[in-house]
Symmetry: C2
DNA sequence: TCCAATTAACGAACACTGTACTTTACGAAC
DNA sequence: GTTCGTAAAGTACAGTGTTCGTTAATTGGA
């Protein structure tokens, strides 16, 4: 209304507003994900940071799901893919998966994205490729490698997701703990007697699970 | 407006509208989940089936998340928990986890719920208890049982979730398959050479993974 | 029997969400 | 200079969970 006469001025007064692009949209979305979690990843919030409207994003991105996939793969850039020939393949595989886990665990929302997203981005593929390579070096046959990499990644993602949920819900995982405290000893004797172990561990537990799965893959012939 | 004079009549004309309760809300919600998937599980849609408003549900349920947890546990009723002493513990464990997987895989939305929900409902607990029992019979020690049951359930849920996504997205998992077809052979040699194996298998693959994890647990001492 | 107190049910409203459609503005090519 | 393709923007629609204030019904006690 009042700004109509100087509409061109108002546009000229902020020339720093660079043109939109898929890259800066994904980057902005990822920063929002880091600071606000998965709930920060909405078209409107991303657009607001970029000083535009939600509909403008649809020029560069098909829909919100596709954007989420891009954001997830962008976040995987930080995963360290080392390739030191002198180290043992097992140690390198562990470090890769541990790095993957840490990225999913530390950045709020990344573990959700890992589970919702079909991992066909370049960084996802690079991680998969590297794991397949390590398993191949370790003498694992084709089918076991192909199926094993899926289990390993699935384990890291779902474990990260579970740990994140456990980290957020109350301080000392109230929901689960308090329900375990008041359990019927007759109906659930095993759970009651093992409840301490069932709530313990974090990184150590992740490593243990990794070891379990890898041992299983190696004994699967 | 027009119905004002016979408002009491209209209420009396449908006395079959039984009172709300947590049980029928959960039951209705589960039926909606079965027929429409996770998107059918909204407070408004559930309320509409029960011929009421969404806000009425909040008398019996704290929020949508809690309702989802109840619905998930309700769906787990169908999981077959056998306890035949004469069978081997391994076979029974496999059958239990297979039944669990099938429930999550067949009912649309159950696998999503399995991942989002903190499993503290009675049916979840019964399944956990039974798995712990079988592992105990198999001679697995305390910590390995406590941590192993988590991995086994996590595996079944995330595998079901992945397979459901693969089943829905296009007919022959277009997204993944077409991206694998056009892969750079230089950058991703392992993926290209193993792409057939990576997309194969379903039930057989689930069994294989179960075997892998169980072997790993048994060798974890 | 009648009044009081509790509580279930309801409707409207709020603050969001993703996405489609229409209109405006700009930049380059002819 | 005009035209044309397209990026950007605004508006609108149909949803979502949840809260609030009000109404209706039912139950318990005198």
């Amino acid at each position: 209304m009042e700004g109509e006469p100087n509409m061109t001025d108002s546009r000229r007064s902020r020339p720093a507003k660079g043109p939109l692009s898929k890259e800066i949209i994904v980057k902005t979305a990822y920063e929002l994900l880091e600071s606000e979690g998965i709930s920060g990843l909405s078209m409107r919030k991303i657009a607001k940071v970029l000083d535009t409207g939600a509909s403008s994003l649809y020029v560069y991105v098909k829909n919100a799901n596709e954007l989420r996939a891009y954001v997830f793969d962008y976040g995987l850039m930080k995963v360290e893919i080392t390739n030191l020939k002198n180290e043992s393949w097992k140690k390198e595989l562990f470090e890769l998966l541990h790095s993957y886990f840490r990225i999913l665990f530390d950045s709020p929302g990344m573990s959700e994205l890992a589970l919702m997203t079909i991992p066909i981005g370049p960084n996802s593929l690079a991680i998969t490729e590297q794991i397949l390579h390590q398993l191949n070096v370790g003498g694992v046959d084709a089918k076991a490698s192909a199926w094993g990499v899926d289990i390993l990644l699935l384990y890291a993602a779902s474990f990260a997701y579970e740990q994140v949920a456990r980290k957020d819900k109350g301080r000392n995982c109230n929901a689960v703990r308090t329900s375990f405290e008041t359990l019927d000893t007759v109906r659930y004797p095993m759970i009651v007697s093992l409840k301490e172990d069932m709530l313990s561990g974090e990184e150590e537990r992740f490593q243990w699970g990794l070891d379990v799965i890898l041992q299983g893959i190696l004994h699967s012939k």
